[in-house]
């Protein structure tokens, strides 16, 4: 359970407020460009600190925790893999960032690579893989880290529609496996409907408490309506 307790974050003229609780589940985060969707994720990921309020996971205050220690895995829009490391090394970092892995851990890496359908690519560099395969590598690492909270900042935006839905299916399988809570930023209503029963709307400097995705998108508030067109 993720709690935003009276959070306020300021960046120059921009401000973002959040005061609600997310029980375990899957959430889409939706809103116009520049509304603060990514800011909300950066706040949870630990890359931005709120000026006011606390953030708690399962009752424990995580406001001051550094990103790598949070119960969080995050996929960014770009740069989810280190291009100079092999696929196995990129995934292995999910177990030990210094990559001093023992045999059992190396086996785990091979296992998750097989699980996302990438057996045989372990020794390759990301540059030698297709965009969809690269996404799978990043998801394999998420699987291996098994953190209870997963943040997705449109990591599949650059993929074509078929690949994207393939990734969302894989993601659903992983989440079903690990029971993680997911926050997924998206600008595509179809993704939100397909993946997330609940949606957090970010509008006018505020992240709103989640509402059922279907009804929200069927009858969006004026700002979101203008954005969705």
């Amino acid at each position: 359970m993720l709690e935003f307790r009276d959070i306020l974050l300021r960046q120059g003229d921009f401000a973002l407020a959040a005061d609600f609780t997310l029980p375990q589940g899957r959430y889409a985060v939706i809103g116009a460009s520049g509304s603060g969707k990514s800011t909300l994720l950066s706040l949870v990921g630990g890359f931005l600190a709120p000026d006011r309020g606390r953030l708690a996971w399962d009752g424990q205050d995580i406001t001051g925790m550094v990103p790598g220690r949070r119960p969080v895995s995050m996929l960014f829009q770009h740069h989810n893999l280190f291009p100079h490391l092999t696929v196995a090394q990129n995934v292995g970092m999910g177990l030990r960032p210094d990559l001093r892995l023992d045999w059992a851990q190396k086996d785990r890496v091979a296992q998750v690579l097989a699980q996302v359908g990438l057996s045989g690519t372990a020794a390759r560099r990301p540059g030698a893989l297709s965009g969809g395969q690269q996404s799978r590598v990043a998801l394999a690492r998420v699987l291996l880290r098994a953190r209870p909270l997963l943040l997705l900042d449109e990591p599949f935006a650059a993929l074509g529609p078929a690949l994207k839905s393939e990734m969302l299916d894989l993601l659903s399988a992983i989440v079903a496996d690990t029971g993680a809570t997911v926050l997924m930023v998206t600008h595509d209503p179809a993704d939100a409907r397909a993946f997330a029963p609940q949606t957090v709307l970010v509008e006018d400097g505020r992240a709103h408490a989640p509402r059922p995705t279907g009804p929200l998108l069927d009858d969006p508030p004026p700002g979101l309506r203008a954005y969705l067109g």
Partner: protein, 505 residues
Amino acid sequence: MGAGHAVAALLTALILGTLGAVAWAAGGLSVLTEWDWRALRFTLWQAALSATLSAALAVPVARALARRRFRGRGLLVTLLGAPFILPVIVAIMGLIAIFGRNGLVNDSLRGIGLPEMSIYGWQGVILAHVFFNLPLSVRLILQGWQAVPAERFRLAASLDFGPRDIARHLERPMLRNVLPGVWLAVFLVCLTSFTVALALGGGPGATTVELAIYQAFRFDFDLGRAATLGLVQIALSVGALLLARRIAVPAGFGTGMDATGAPPGPGGWRRGADALVIALAAGFLLAPLLSVTASGLPRVGALPADVWSAALRSIVMAVTSAALTITACLVLALAVARGAGRWVEAAGMLPLVASPLVLGTGLFILLRDLATPQQMALPVTVAINAAMALPFGLRALIPAAQALQADYGQLAASLDLKGLARLRLLVLPRLARPLGFAGGLAAALAMGDLGVITLFAGDQPTLPLKLYQLMNSYRMEDAAAASVLLMALSFALFWLFDRGGRMDA
């Protein structure tokens, strides 16, 4: 961030502390003689003239290279970057071989009954400065030419512009933007000219402030006057850098020079003129080096043992110096990339304010009660060479470190990748190229440097100093061979470091 601040503080203490010692020992402007004021006037005059000549001569060469395509063009453009790491004393040997008393030029002048020219004196100083800075200027102006979008040249062609119209509407506006920076870059380099003045100048009409510091220090043992001259030199550098803040000085190395897709250049007589300009420039740059190589190469094997031990000493010093530079560069660049504040970056650029001879004088003042000049010669030379290479290294590393932080900083943080593991798995592999490049520059500059070491010259000469001693004792055959050795070692060190940075790619 702690390490970045520590290195920045250490560097600031080294430079400002040294300058402070110089200021403390300075005797006030009244100790300066008429000779010293002439040195100041000559320094400004020769730097201005060298800059003007280099920039003016570079324009036709850059234009010819910009609008012509020929075999070997890429090689020539790459070679234009070589003088940056060419030891100054080697170039002087080459210029003497061509323009000296028994050189090609004077032989021809005698042959057609004209008076000889001497390479010693102000004209030699200017000649050597143009030799070093013409290539730099050509590269900078060429970048300006290639920054003009090819579409504009195509538009000009479609509007049936003649060469004059192109010059008026496209080339002159670009040159107005680029030339002030080029001029200033050369002016700055020539302001602290020491080796050229030492070898080719020296008389009343051809002594720079740097050389006057050396003379006051070494021949007159007048530390107060040397220090006062040091202050004058600092004032010159600071003044020029303040000027540089108003004019953007471009960086002259490391950028690619690709074909632009512009339409072919004009035909007719301009074609021949461009060919002539390119041939003249290439000849001016290559003939001295080829001449030294031709006379020196066969004798390298016969060089006496003390030259070889000087070479070994220089290699060790250059590699040590380069290691110091890349370590400091890396620490500072990472700190700057993490937003350590402008003073850390400013500390890394601080060596630009100080000249090697001023630093050498200051360190001597600080250390004279602790060590003999012989004892401090090599460590002080290594430290000053490392510091002087720092600004060049930082120019390559800071943008790379910033890109690293912007692209992978969050990913690394989210995976809890930090400390030594971050250095090993992220920073070193991603920054290997600029690190190798910076190390290569630092090693080559240190290898070829003939500056501070002359202040302390003892029984342990570096290879450039040994070469200078050979020249002074008229052992020109050994000097030519030592030149070839020094040039080869400088280029080899640069290549090895630079190559090392690309191994993984």
